[in-house]
Symmetry: C2
Subunit: 500 residues, 2 copies
């Protein structure tokens, strides 16, 4: 007898996938195309489709179907079983907090975020604090409801929304090793780099030329333009659907590098989406395996590949041809100079501008603080002080009184997305471990990259990561791809090799 | 006691509106932005949302709610009552044919349309005929099911899908008057225009300049760019939603006029959408009043305004400044020369290229033939012969053996959209009658247009048509706006004045 309950679930989740397709394109459109007057109506349409999707997942029949399908799960293929596991995960996420809390948090989050846009610019912590307190209180409530439904700790219940199967005990160990290593390493690198002799290319770099260069390097590194596009938005992102991936960037005529590296970063996300398992796209198991793995694919492309010497040997003449003008010193376009430019280390206040070495300290600081907030071991009013202490400790910088470059700089907490931050650094470490494995598996990988040949590497990533969707749990996936679960060794070795 | 059934219906139709918003943006994206590889997935997503919308309308509870709300309709405001009437209309459209027929027709239509793309190019009627026969048979079946549910005649039941409340008895009378007048008039105009001395501007006209010119004239004539955009697609259209209207065009470097007049035509559609009643947008009564009124707004802008002498007096220097180059004769940019260029009359085979005077004959020919098909008074195999006879009679051209420029030229019948064609000419006549009324109501309208002032005219159209949504039935709306229901007098007078 076929497992009809499972089939019914596939039907429900296919419907959800189709609605998500439309929502995803509408989100992209909102960021890249929509005229400003369209935003209210778009917000209403996207909110309604979220409600519909939530109703479909939370429907009473879904729980029954999952339970019954699970009872006959031995009739299912391994992928179907993994799909059922992911369906259950989505059902749990959708149903473990009550709808009043969802609404209250959405409202508080949107008010806090709206106010943040002006309060941050004004360095106005006093008016921001009560708004953030409301959001944090509601997020604590959320974490407790989720904890109860999932038998995870409150913080882990949030973390699992972004990094399914992950837990803070494991993250604590990993991050502790980075805290042990990084602060002193950062100081050494900064000291050493003082002696570097770098020539910074001066613009203007015409936007059309930057765009063409980005498109060219996207294509060379394996972005499939039959199934995606590049556009402009204020905040760069990777959106759309697997069959039609939309990445965005923004350009400055003074600096080509930020946009170019941004484009390559998003291309890493995009290739993951484009490479997801075709036959499972409409089902939960066909989607990407959490934010830490997603970020690993963008950082693989950006940090492991694009900012590395082999890639820049290949790309430097292309970049020069695209962007050099009569004013620019020929010397500045050498692979070596571009390499040094792309790997400057400097402790600074702002996470999103941070280099590869200091970035984890920004993340760990936030991770430690948000755990304390969720566990009620820190009050919002004491947040700026602790931020200042940790910034001094980790990066040697004080943020006393400087809220806008301190604890008010990110958008994540304003809408209650606690549990998200660690995925950035987990991603960076996954990327280093994956590159190490690829380097062992693919003969002469560096030489291939230096010649602009990415076929074998993309195939390896597709086999090991992209085409696996959410078939494995995260630890299993890393073991499948690299032979062991995530550890800090490869990331630290990578940093030593590139910056030490 | 409030009419709770009515409130529940508003809730259902609001949900439908939000889904239609996403579908509409996804349709626009498909035509204007989507990479080719995205089409299969997009098709699936759009098909699924159609199914969801249909389920929402056809749900058993909807019929009950409509019936119960109707019983207490005196508690409702006039707009709410009109809204309930439109809900009933949509419910009837969604439920009066069975779902097997819907599927069969969608399949046959898509097969026929797919084949048509190559068969038309090959002038291959023989292979096209059986495909079309299947579509027509299913459309006859549809018309009969709809007739039974609505107590209209089969053809009128189809016509009502596009032109709610309209009937072929009235259309017959109107079209008979045009058939009486036009063929002889066309001959006279062609004869008279032989003496015209016209200078055709020669390109190339850079696409960027054409685009800027289109944007400028859109803005001058009242398109609101806070709530809409202009892009490029293969088939120009007006899409999006009232709050965010997306129009498209396509450019040729050899000919600026087709794109420019196309942009102004779509701007007419767009202003209607942008002017719909804000407080009713999410409800059926807030949408446009059928295709004939929609086409009246585009043809008002294109035929009544943009191809007229006052507008070209205003626009000629702007067009010249945008597009003239050293090769072009200065003389060709005069308002008088552009006016003559924009109003050439020439009987030809292809409807979509037809001028304002011959266009109705193309439509009437199709209307007469499709009525015969639906009433089983004509078989598909005899279609080419009758087409040829009517083309000779109406436009003096033979299409014997020339199927691709004859009965295979349009896409409408391939997917079974019979009943649509008459709306083009009803739109042209509505436009002439509306312009006549506006001209009486607004002092010195021609002079205003000649100065590029469209404020009073747009306000008049907004008051009389746009902001009325679907509050009135079509005849009532025309009476509200012009004092009488549609008749041929104003259109014929307009043609005599412009071409006679």
């Amino acid at each position: 007898m076929p497992n009809t309950c499972y089939s019914q679930l596939e039907h429900v989740f296919n419907r959800i996938y189709q609605l998500q397709h439309l929502a995803s394109i509408a989100h992209w459109d909102m960021a890249a195309m929509m005229p400003s007057g369209g935003s209210h109506a778009r917000g209403e349409a996207l909110a309604e489709v979220s409600v519909i999707i939530n109703e479909l997942i939370s429907d009473n029949s879904t729980a029954d179907l999952i339970q019954q399908a699970d009872q006959s799960k031995l009739e299912l293929s391994a992928w179907q079983q993994a799909n059922l596991r992911e369906m259950h995960r989505l059902w749990l996420n959708a149903t473990s907090i009550n709808s009043e809390l969802v609404k209250a948090k959405a409202l508080a989050g949107s008010q806090c975020e709206h106010a943040w846009r002006t309060l941050r610019a004004d360095n106005n912590w006093q008016d921001f604090q009560p708004l953030l307190e409301t959001v944090i209180d509601l997020t604590i409530e959320e974490s407790q409801q989720r904890a109860e439904a999932s038998s995870l700790s409150p913080y882990d219940a949030l973390l699992n929304l972004y990094e399914p199967g992950q837990n803070s005990a494991a993250v604590d160990v990993i991050f502790a090793e980075l805290v042990e290593f990084l602060p002193a390493f950062i100081q050494r690198v900064v000291e050493r780099q003082k002696g570097d002799n770098i020539t910074r290319p001066t613009g203007p770099f015409p936007i059309e030329a930057q765009r063409d260069l980005g498109l060219l390097l996207m294509e060379k590194t394996g972005f499939n333009f039959e199934h995606g596009r590049l556009d402009v938005s204020h905040h760069p992102f990777c959106g759309g659907v697997s069959e039609d991936v939309r990445i965005t960037t923004r350009y400055s005529e003074d600096d080509f590098s930020e946009s170019l590296m941004g484009v390559l970063h998003e291309t890493g996300h995009a290739k993951y989406e484009q490479g997801l398992p075709k036959e499972w796209l409409s089902q939960p198991v066909g989607s990407a395996r959490g934010m830490g793995i997603h970020e690993s694919q963008s950082l693989f492309q950006e940090m492991q590949i694009a900012r590395g010497q082999p890639f820049l040997q290949f790309a430097a003449p292309i970049i020069q041809q695209s962007l050099s003008n009569e004013q620019t010193d020929k010397q500045c376009w050498s692979a070596e100079n571009l390499y040094q430019l792309n790997n400057r280390v400097k402790p600074d206040y702002i996470r999103v501008n941070a280099d590869e070495v200091t970035y984890p300290m920004h993340v760990i600081l936030r991770y430690e603080i948000e755990k304390l907030l969720i566990n009620k071991e820190l009050e919002v009013k004491d947040l700026p002080e602790l931020w200042d202490i940790k910034m001094q400790q980790y990066l040697g910088l004080s943020t006393a009184g400087n809220y806008k470059d301190g604890c008010m700089q990110d958008i994540h907490w304003t809408d209650g997305s606690l549990g998200y931050f660690p995925t950035y650094t987990l991603g960076a470490m996954n990327a280093a471990q994956l590159y190490n494995a690829a380097d062992k598996a693919i003969p002469e990988l560096s030489q291939q990259i230096a010649k602009g040949e990415f076929g074998a590497l993309n195939q390896w990533q597709k086999d090991k990561i992209w085409s696996q969707g959410s078939y494995f749990e995260i630890d299993e996936l890393m073991s499948y791809a690299t032979g062991e679960k995530l550890n800090t060794r490869y990331f630290i070795n990578h940093l030593k090799k590139r910056f030490g």
